[in-house]
Amino acid sequence: MAKRPPITNRVKELREAHEGLSQSALGEAIGVTRQTVIAIEQGRYSPSLESAFRISRVFGVGLEDVFGWEGD
């Protein structure tokens, strides 16, 4: 298995809290496919800085409220 990036995220949690925003809708909002959103949620892919900012903007929170460093 590929080594997972040491970046944690709360995308799934925030998405569900955000009126049950679907993975497709989030993907469309940030310009990636649903599969990429799934990969981000499962920690299999760390998004680019641009996408990370887009995600935090969608949820109306700061970048560090969505992403964190493992162990912090």
Partner: protein, 139 residues
Amino acid sequence: MSPAMRFTTLVTLISFIPIGWHFGTVFELWGSAPETRVDFFIRIGIIVIGSIVASIIGAIITTVLTGKEDFEPDERETLVLRKAELAGYYSLAACICYLMWRAFDPLSPMQIANALLAAFTWSEFVKLVAGFVLLRRGV
């Protein structure tokens, strides 16, 4: 894996079946190799035209099913494609090294030409499989 990418992978994998069969005959693993230059070019022609037709059909199916006219990879897919391409280049380099190692073996011009074609085909196959694995496993 996006539907567009899934179809592209599927169509390419299907096109490897006749190509694999051809190389199998040339390297005497099964069937009979083309005996004349004309036979060889007819066979290669059929395979190439067949692959192009399959790609066109695949693109039409993708467009109909996904509603998107072209396949635009997102950032993750782009990264996967780049890594897969790199794997393809490495495998091509390995094949070339192997062919250089066998340069003094008594091979017919037909086998040498096909060995080169097989090396390029193999690198494409590795690229495809690496892309598939990386998409499933993560990058």
